[in-house]
């Protein structure tokens, strides 16, 4: 019983209760978001405090090593930015939604993500996945008056349950083949020869499939665009980064420690290939920004998986760095969408037309995020792609990298179209912009923080790359 190993999660759990009590005892929901942000920051401080220590607890069920610490911080970064975007969502309807239930569900979900990246046992991993997913289902259906939101919630729930089924079945088969739930035990069994067992093969692939669902990789992606469109945007901002970081972190730990000698790269290779293809091509014809970002997210998971195809800690470091940058740029972009949509009108290309003249500050921030998502230097989008592709080439995946850059070139078109609309199309003054001209403090803070991270990680990536790759040595 080493409670230090789950100290940040204890803080988060206390935070869940605090948020709920706070709403009952005080009036004014506006501050709930900032309270949640503070709780996440406190948990992050806890992680940083024990960053150099390895805490193993609960009979080895949980292993909070540097890898876990690093991925927890990425998750917190995504959650923090999304919380701040939600906190400053001001339009009338949203004020009803983003009350205590939203923020407490968000915190619960973060606890689940933490368990995914520090779990050293498949049972803990399954628990983590469920703790992560259940709040997300509820958050997706958060706008209870809206049919699309309910549809989004239902769709997400059904596919999610399906994925959990895959995962459980995979766990059962792996247990049948190896007799172990712990990553270490599975790894030992595999190196003793269990990788020849077909049960192990099928079980391993099913395990991966369960998580590929969560990160919306092709062909397990079809829920993402609809759920993104229907769910409230701050929820989507949270969806887009944090759960993906957690699931990718788990996949890294799983393939590097448990399924060591199995050729799981093949699975990643196929999925990466398809994700880049589908994500980028389907994004070309989207005019709704949320759908565009949904497909862009699928494409980016493809780039991340290019890194997963290259085994080894260096590649995993590049993947960690990529996820850090992706959290900043994609949550930033969703925060802008939050600010532009109204109850009646989704944010489309027409909404952002002429934004450069109507709201120059917001347009400048969205421009930075779009260039980053495209992968143009000096943003983290470029540095991240460079690091991932570099490791992939080192591992000899030349064809995959060429495929990836070809589709990066395709993606230039749809990201650039948003920028074109903002700066070069005439403004349609009849479209209302809910953001007041002066902006809102919390919202401005999200944009500034995300823009600074996007540029800083792009211009001076060295320390972040170093932290990311050092965290991965723990796995080998």
């Amino acid at each position: 019983m080493n409670f230090a190993s789950i100290a940040p999660e204890i803080i988060l759990t206390a935070g869940v209760l605090l948020v709920m009590v706070w709403e009952i005892t005080t009036s004014g929901r506006q501050n709930l978001g900032y309270l949640t942000a503070l709780i996440i920051i406190a948990a992050g401080a806890m992680v940083i405090g024990q960053y150099d220590r390895v805490e193993v607890g609960f009979s080895g069920m949980v292993q909070a090593d540097r890898f876990g610490h690093f991925f927890r911080l990425i998750i917190y970064l995504g959650a923090l930015l999304a919380t701040m975007a939600a906190a400053s969502s001001w339009h009338g309807e949203a004020r009803g939604v983003f009350g205590a239930e939203f923020f407490s569900l968000l915190l619960v979900s973060v606890i689940g993500m933490d368990l995914l990246v520090i779990g050293a046992n498949l049972i803990v991993v399954f628990l983590g996945l469920e703790i992560l997913s259940l709040p997300l289902y509820a958050m997706a259906a958060g706008r209870t008056q809206s049919d699309t939101a309910v549809e989004a919630g239902a769709k997400y729930f059904l596919t999610g349950a399906f994925a959990s089924g895959f995962l459980l079945f995979g766990i059962a088969l792996v247990y049948g083949a190896t007799g172990a739930f712990t990553f270490e035990g599975i790894g030992n069994a595999v190196s003793r020869g269990a990788q020849l067992d077909p049960l192990m093969w099928i079980g391993g692939v099913l395990l991966l499939v369960g998580f590929l669902f969560k990160i919306a990789a092709v062909p397990f992606h079809s829920w993402a665009p609809d759920v993104y469109t229907g769910a409230p945007t701050p929820t989507v901002a949270f969806f887009a980064a944090a759960p993906k970081a957690a699931a990718v972190g788990l996949l890294l730990r799983l393939t590097l420690t448990a399924l060591v000698d199995l050729p799981m790269e093949t699975v990643f290779w196929v999925v990466a290939w398809l994700s880049m293809f589908v994500g980028n091509l389907w994004a070309l014809r989207q005019r709704d920004l949320k759908r565009l970002l949904a497909y862009s997210g699928i494409a980016h998971i493809g780039y991340v998986l290019v890194g997963l195809c290259a085994k080894g800690s260096a590649a995993a470091g590049a993947v960690g760095f990529y996820l850090m940058g992706y959290a900043a740029m994609t949550v930033g972009a969703f925060a802008v969408v939050c600010a532009l949509e109204t109850k009646e009108r989704a944010a489309t290309l027409e909404t952002v037309a002429g934004l450069g003249r109507r709201r120059p500050g917001i347009a400048a921030a969205l421009t930075i995020f779009m260039f980053a998502l495209t992968g143009i230097p000096p943003t983290v989008g470029f540095a991240g792609k460079f690091a991932v592709f570099s490791e992939a080439l080192k591992a000899g995946n030349l064809g995959l990298v060429i495929w990836a850059v070809m589709f990066s070139a395709v993606s230039v078109y749809y990201y650039l179209r948003v920028v074109v609309a903002m700066w070069m199309w005439p403004a349609d003054e009849s479209i209302p912009l809910p953001v007041p001209r002066g902006g809102i403090a919390g919202f401005g803070a999200v944009l500034i923080l995300a823009s600074i991270l996007t540029l800083l990680l792009g211009i001076y990536p060295q320390p972040f790359l170093k932290i990311a790759s050092e965290s991965l040595f723990w796995l080998l």
């Binding site: 260039f371 143009i376 230097p377 000096p378 470029f382 460079f386 690091a387 592709f389 570099s390 080439l393 080192k394 030349l398 990298v401 060429i402 850059v405 070809m406 990066s408 070139a409 230039v412 078109y413 650039l416 179209r417 074109v420 700066w423 070069m424 001076y460 990536p461 060295q462 790359l465 170093k466 790759s469």
Partner: protein
């Protein structure tokens, strides 16, 4: 911080300052941009006077940047990049001053874009770290994209998206090749992006054509070489005048510079493999560009198409792979920047007055605007390559060099000069001479003092380089010798051991390298290698 870092970061700093400058102070914005680009130009003169010919890379700086991947902030300038950097700073201040009257909206963003563009271009010219080069190479797309897309003509959005898509598509494959070479440079110790280390690599023969092709595609799109030129007329015609000046004057040079600095010396065997293709494409570009130029009815697209032809000459000189051709090629890059830059300026000035670029809308305006007409005439003659102007020196050297290597192709290209005289003089006749058909043309204002001031430096350079090119040639000569050695030596080393008939030895004796008095004598080359190396495997 050295002078090169100043030249790279100062404009970007002022650009950021401009973006956050309070609204509504247009005069201040203009003055700030002008002063900054003037400081920048004066600072760059330091390079001209401080440069010691033959000392290789100078003013070098090296700071670790991303040590994990062997990336450093490494910059330096040699004879190949020196003149191009100076051209950039000169054309930037001219662009800034020339935009006083033509640009009336969004001044802050406009001048900031011009200055960011200057940062990107200079950074790319002086980077001696391949990663750093790539960063600047891509980053400079962003300001150019906004310059065309916001301040351009009617079809500006189409033009700017086409420009970016073309360039990105080529660049990304180059990125793969760059990363591949980096991984190859690694071995046990971890790789590096240091260009000087890359020059020392012995890259496998089988990989070189692929790597060269990936680099060459990116550069060929930028040059642009036939058949990758289709973005150029759109971008040029739609860009604002200053944007065209920067695009034609310096951005296109990055393509040819890329060949000289990276593609050819790094992968000489790949270069050899594609030599025939490049020769043919260069000649097609020259002739096709000239023919397309003849049939344009819009002054600006006429100048744009003439660039395709002129840049073909630049490639031709490089392909000759001898010192005469290479010198001509490099000098012609500068010449094209000056002449075509000046032509776009002049077109922009007349467009401001009449708001039309159609040739048919003019005619007989020589008497109305004599100063403008004389300036246009001088620049047009320099573009044709009249003796006494800079164009002559460059094209003559290129053709001389090319003639020693591929007489037939050089001969065909020389014919294009006649076409060039045709389209330019015909343009001049239709615009400036004959009767005044449209009465509105009778009241065009002649050049103002400000406009004249932007042209005079370019006119001086046209005559200076035409009459006395020695100071320029002195500075570029020695480094081109080094370049030739790199571009040729590896072929000798690598082809020799494979027991095939040695390419050069099997061929008939070739004429000795011409010993032009315009070119400083080679210092570190043995005469015996000349005849052999010059055509080594190139026929």
């Amino acid at each position: 911080m050295g002078i090169l870092s100043f030249l790279i970061f100062f404009p970007a700093l002022i650009g950021v300052l401009l973006l956050v400058w309070p609204n509504g102070r247009l005069k201040q914005v203009r003055s700030l941009a002008t002063v900054a680009s003037a400081i920048q130009f004066i600072a760059s003169l330091w390079l001209w006077f401080g440069f010691v010919p033959g000392n290789g890379f100078q003013f070098t700086e090296s700071v670790d940047w991303i040590t994990r991947y062997g990336i450093g902030y490494r910059v330096g300038v040699d004879g190949i990049s020196l003149l191009l950097v100076l051209l950039t700073t000169l054309l930037t201040i001219i662009s800034v001053v020339s935009s006083y009257s033509s640009i009336q909206t969004g001044l802050k963003g406009y001048y900031a874009s011009l200055l960011f563009l200057e940062t990107g271009v200079i950074g790319a010219f002086v980077a001696t770290d391949v990663f750093l080069f790539y960063v600047f190479w891509e980053a400079m797309l962003i300001p150019m994209y906004f310059l065309i897309g916001i301040w351009g003509g009617e079809r500006r959005i189409y033009a700017t998206v086409k420009f970016v898509l073309y360039t990105m598509a080529g660049s990304l494959l180059m990125l793969v090749a760059i990363i591949w070479t980096y991984q190859y440079s690694g071995g046990a110790t971890g790789g590096t992006f240091n260009l000087f280390d890359w020059y020392g690599l012995t890259i496998p023969t089988a990989a070189q054509p692929w790597l060269f092709a990936a680099f060459a595609l990116a550069f060929a799109i930028k040059v642009p070489m036939f058949p990758f030129h289709t973005w150029l007329p759109d971008a040029h015609v739609q860009a604002p005048a200053a944007g065209s000046v920067m695009l034609a004057g310096v951005l296109l040079k990055l393509g040819t510079y890329g060949f000289l600095r990276f593609a050819v010396p790094l992968f000489p065997l790949g270069f050899e493999y594609f030599a025939d293709t490049l020769w043919i494409l260069a000649v097609i570009g020259i002739v096709y560009g000239a023919i397309m130029t003849l049939i344009q009815d819009d002054i600006k697209s006429l100048v744009a198409y003439s660039s395709v032809s002129h840049l073909g000459f630049v490639i031709l000189g490089m392909m000759a792979l001898n010192i005469v051709g290479a010198t001509g090629s490099l000098l012609q890059q500068v010449n094209h920047g000056i002449s075509t830059g000046a032509l776009f300026l002049l077109v922009g000035m007349i467009y401001e007055r009449r708001h039309t670029r159609k040739i048919a809308d003019y005619g007989g305006i020589f008497a109305v605007v004599p100063v403008f007409s004389i300036a246009f005439l001088i620049v047009a003659l320099s573009s044709i390559g009249l003796p006494g102007t800079n164009g002559f020196v460059g094209e003559f050297l290129i053709l001389l060099g090319a003639f020693y290597t591929r007489p037939w192709l050089a001969g065909i290209s020389a014919l294009a000069i006649i076409l060039a005289a045709g389209y330019m003089l015909w343009l001049v006749r239709r615009v400036f001479f004959g009767p005044i058909v449209h009465t509105v043309n009778e009241t065009i204002r002649d050049l103002s003092k400000r406009e004249l001031a932007t042209l005079i430096p370019l006119l001086i350079l046209i005559i200076w380089i035409g009459v006395y090119p020695k100071p320029f040639l002195d500075r570029i000569g020695p480094d081109l010798q080094t370049w030739l050695a790199k571009a040729r030596s590896q072929q000798m080393i690598q082809t020799a051991p494979q027991n095939e008939p040695a390419p050069a030895a099997a061929r008939k004796a070739t004429p000795p390298r011409p010993d032009s008095t315009l070119v400083p004598p080679p210092e570190n080359e043995t005469p015996s290698r000349d005849g052999v190396a010059m055509v080594g495997g190139f026929e």
